[in-house]
Amino acid sequence: MNNPAANNEKIVKYLLGSLPEAETESFDEMSITDGEFAVALSAAEKDLIDAYVQGELTGATLNDFRSNFLASPFRRGKLDFAEALEAHAKRHQPALSETAGEELLAERPTEKKRPGWFAGKGFFTTPRLAWQWGFAVAAIAFLVAGSWLWSENMRLRQQISQSQGHPEAPGTRESELQKELEQQREAIAKTEMELTRLREERERLAAELKQQAPESQVAAGERSAPNQQPSPRGVNIASFILTPQMRGLQQVPVISIPVDTDRVSLQLELEPDDFRDYRVVLIDQITNRNIWSSSKIKATASDRKTLKVNLPASLLGPNAYVLRVTGVSTGNESEIVGDYRFRVVK
């Protein structure tokens, strides 16, 4: 599932009951076994209902929504809620722009309104206006590309005729290429020499370090590079900073844990929220099993709220993991506030 737009389209089809049976079964399974997919499904369902409430659905999507999606009283309840939420949001939004104000005053049409943020997200509705603009832009792009190709063609023709008029040209070109090749060989030789020098320098420094203070080696690094710090008792700690996981596809940070590390310290940057206490669970992404959990911990607040989590390095093999952070309110209610995915290499 690498293409988000195609994924969204399939999710919508699944929600509307118009996905082929084989795929439906696979989506059924993921809706229960894959937490990330379950969240995406829930968000897509809300977006779909909102699009209907705002009259943004058209054609087959609208038909499927009415005939299949609204067949369930539970989902009709969700629609009622979406309508109430929209009315509530409008009621509490006095400082809207002129356009928005006009929209609020307008009656809710059933089908004729142009699509809204779904179109922006590349979901399932395609506004006519967008198509028109799209065609206009495409036509201009074709014109520009066409004229560029034509001028390029003319230039190349000119070059050919010039080279045909100068029989010595191929020889000149050959000698130029020879020269370039020589220069590149020289550059490669220089780089190799520099590399050898750096290797020797590194080995020399490593040997010195080993002789002077074997217990005080500290490797500094940036975000996903480990900052390995030995404690006075000789415990090696590798520390990393992780940022919150966003919706959509995002590259999973890879953390490299040195072999002799005893503990891994992870600093989780939190989005602003009102929780004072948190719980963190470490989940093995392959087996989806919880392999570690924290007690209640408090965030440290400097310019950004962070949570510090210390794990035994032995827990983390070369694998993919999620640190799931749950906020705990004063009334002891819990809410998942973020997932921090990462991959470990050793």
Binding site: S72, A89, R289
Partner: protein
């Protein structure tokens, strides 16, 4: 929801869950951690949605039956060998779905003969008035539920769902910028808040 007491299994099921077996289920779903029942609630929510997407009217009963069967199996055998708890719940849910569809098939002929003789109901004026009253009540409930939110969350829920087209996108962008978080983060937060509010409104309406 939110009540973690052992629930009575569906009418045709012979065994009710004991508090002990329910605790066993909670522990198994948590996989050695303590989520305060959050894993159970999440699994139940997923199962409810699964059965609802199959257009079954008794989706909640079937979701509970799934979890109850898992709990009984746990109690009987002490452990369940499965890739993940979620995977096993899915397998049981699928089995219950098939079982239910088979039963429904048997009863269909009888139900059809009954419904055939029932007069078709038209939407009367009385029903329309009733619907309006419910909507008004829902809006009042929503007002009360949003009042329980803290100011930031209240602002998110009121600003996130306002406007159409560019106005809506612009509202969301402004909201994210003013909170110092990304658009993705604000959408996840709005989504969770909406789920909470929906539950609150349903409770307020007594559903």
């Amino acid at each position: 929801m939110g009540d973690f007491s052992a629930q009575k299994v569906g009418q045709k099921k012979d065994r009710t869950l004991t508090p002990h077996s329910f605790q066993g289920l909670l522990g198994w779903l948590d996989q050695g951690t303590n989520s305060d029942g959050q894993q159970y609630l999440e699994m139940r929510r997923r199962l409810v949605d699964y059965f609802d997407r199959k257009n079954l009217t008794n989706f909640e009963e079937l979701a509970d039956e799934t979890l109850n069967r898992v709990a009984r199996r746990l109690e009987d055998e002490g452990t369940i060998e499965s890739e993940t708890p979620a995977k096993y719940c899915y397998v049981v849910a699928r089995f219950i779905l098939m079982e239910h569809l088979r039963e429904t098939q048997k009863e269909r002929v009888m139900v059809e003969s009954i419904t055939k003789h029932q007069p078709t109901q038209s939407v009367s004026e009385h029903q329309a008035v009733q619907e309006m009253e419910i909507k008004e009540k829902m809006l009042n409930c929503l007002e009360n539920c949003t009042l329980q939110l803290d100011p930031v969350n209240h602002r998110i829920i009121t600003q996130y769902y306002v406007g159409q087209e560019r106005v809506k996108i612009e509202n969301r962008r402004e909201l994210a910028a003013s909170l110092g978080i990304t658009m993705n983060a604000v959408s996840i937060r709005a989504c969770r808040l909406r789920d909470k509010l929906e539950v609150c409104v349903r409770q307020c309406l007594g559903r």
